[in-house]
């Protein structure tokens, strides 16, 4: 996180805000709600309070303007610069300006008003842009479903360094941005996808192309805005050029790079009993056409050709996969299966049914 140069801050904790005008693209109630939610992002983690006023000059004046609007920082039409805000201070200090030529929405279409205003309010309170790509105060727009939004730890640390901690008995914490070479890195799910490797972690994908040294970190929503964060299992059916992604009792199918229509569907269609609430990991053996699903300490085997579960399952993972008791994530590559459990990774030879190597979970990233 970075403080605005000169460390400006409000001398009071009880601030006021006023919505000067509205975008014609959203219902007023939705704009009000987006702004209230954005303000609570910051008031939930500090002693700050925000009171809405209807007339008079407020500390934070929020308005939708276009192009040159007499503050020496003209907007540039659709896309590009979406909004800006001013550091704490009198008059224009703390004010938020939103480009009224943007396509403002309350969901994943266009630009989500809540996400953008929450970012701008960070400036109104004295924060500058963060270099943490997962931070709310990162300069570029990245959609997150407002229902799933949690203020990242980097932003919490920054705003509390200015205004102090929240008065709540339990201090709120937020998600951190995964670092590829963090020795304590664990994964929610791993899969191949047309020769690349996708490591799922929270709202992120760590993407590894075999020919490139760097590991790319992106939001899941950048590729698939309709997918939730926290994907729990994933596997590639290479023959069908499909990737299946699982979360709780639902799964999605990616065909190529697009989510196939009609998804998510229920995992019970695949033959799981109702006692199964989620899938921890999965991999598909492209030689046998069998897919292995790992749930807690058991696993099922699914026949991709018959499109049904094989009989005689579930079985204990321990009975067929060596000392691997539970699995967080799994994928197959070059005939070997790689199982991830916590920070440990096992390379398993499915023909010899034995573990041939044990590595760190992030061994695929050139750390």
């Amino acid at each position: 996180y970075v403080f605005t140069e000169g460390n400006p801050k409000w001398k009071r904790n009880n601030l006021t805000y006023r919505i000067v005008n509205y975008t014609p693209l959203m219902r007023r109630a939705d704009v009000d709600e987006a702004i209230q939610k954005a303000l609570s992002v910051w008031s939930n983690v500090t002693p700050l309070t925000f009171q809405k006023i209807e007339d008079k000059m407020a500390d934070i004046m929020i308005s939708f303007v276009v192009r040159d609007h007499q503050d020496n920082s003209p907007f540039d039409g659709p896309n590009g610069q979406l909004a800006h805000a001013f550091q704490p201070g009198e008059a224009i200090g703390g004010d938020v300006h939103l480009d009224n030529e943007e396509y403002w929405t309350k969901d994943g279409r266009g630009y989500n008003l809540f996400i953008v205003i929450a970012h701008e309010l960070g400036h109104s309170l004295g924060l500058s842009h963060s270099t943490d790509p997962g931070a709310l105060m990162y300069p570029t727009y990245a959609y997150t479903d407002p229902k799933e939004f949690h203020l990242p730890q980097d932003d919490i640390d920054g705003i509390q360094a200015i205004y102090g901690q929240s008065n709540a008995p339990v201090q709120p914490t937020g998600p951190t941005t995964p670092q590829a070479c963090d020795p304590s890195l664990t994964f929610d799910a791993v899969t191949t996808l047309r020769g690349e490797m996708m490591f799922f972690k929270g709202r992120y994908i760590l993407r590894k192309h075999p020919q490139r040294i760097e590991t790319e970190l992106n939001f899941i929503s950048l590729f698939w805005p309709k997918l939730p964060s926290g994907i729990q299992a994933a596997y590639e059916n290479i023959e069908r050029d499909e990737v299946l992604l699982f979360k709780e009792d639902k799964y999605w199918v990616l065909r190529g790079y697009d989510i196939a229509p009609g998804y998510p569907k229920s995992i019970y269609r695949l033959g799981f009993p109702k006692t199964v609430k989620r899938v921890n990991a999965a991999y598909s053996d492209e030689n046998t056409g069998k897919t292995y699903f790992f749930v807690a300490d058991r696993y099922w085997r699914y026949d991709e050709n018959k499109r049904s579960m094989d009989h005689g399952y579930p079985r204990k993972i321990l009975s067929d996969f060596g000392k691997i008791g539970r699995v967080d994530a799994a994928f197959q590559k070059d005939g070997y299966v790689y199982f991830f459990h916590g920070t440990t990774q096992f390379q398993f030879d499915p023909r010899g049914k034995r573990i041939v190597r044990q590595m760190k979970s992030n061994s695929w990233f050139d750390c």
């Binding site: 605005t4 907007f75 590009g80 979406l82 400036h123 500058s128 842009h129 790509p133 300069p139 570029t140």
Partner: protein
């Protein structure tokens, strides 16, 4: 003009304009009011570009490579990344 501009040249011209505007807006690159006067001083643009690449965790090349141009085209906040 009467002479058609090669697409590559047009593309390059657009990229240079994008880079300059971006660095002026967000990295305090001073506008060059007298482009026709060749100053002896060092061109600040590569250094500013390095600053931007470092901020975004890109490869620091000082050159407008593809990854840098893609980042510059992303929708973003209008507040500068450095300075006031």
């Amino acid at each position: 003009s009467a002479f058609p501009v090669a697409p590559e040249a047009e593309e390059e011209r657009k990229n240079i304009a994008l880079v300059e505007t971006y660095l002026q807006n967000f990295y305090n690159l001073q506008k060059d009011d007298q482009p026709h006067v060749r100053l002896k001083s060092v061109n600040p643009l590569p250094e500013k570009l390095k600053e931007m690449q470092e901020f975004f965790g890109l490869k620091v090349t000082g050159k407008p490579d593809l990854e840098t141009l893609e980042m510059m085209k992303k929708p973003r906040c209008g507040v500068p990344d450095i300075g006031k």
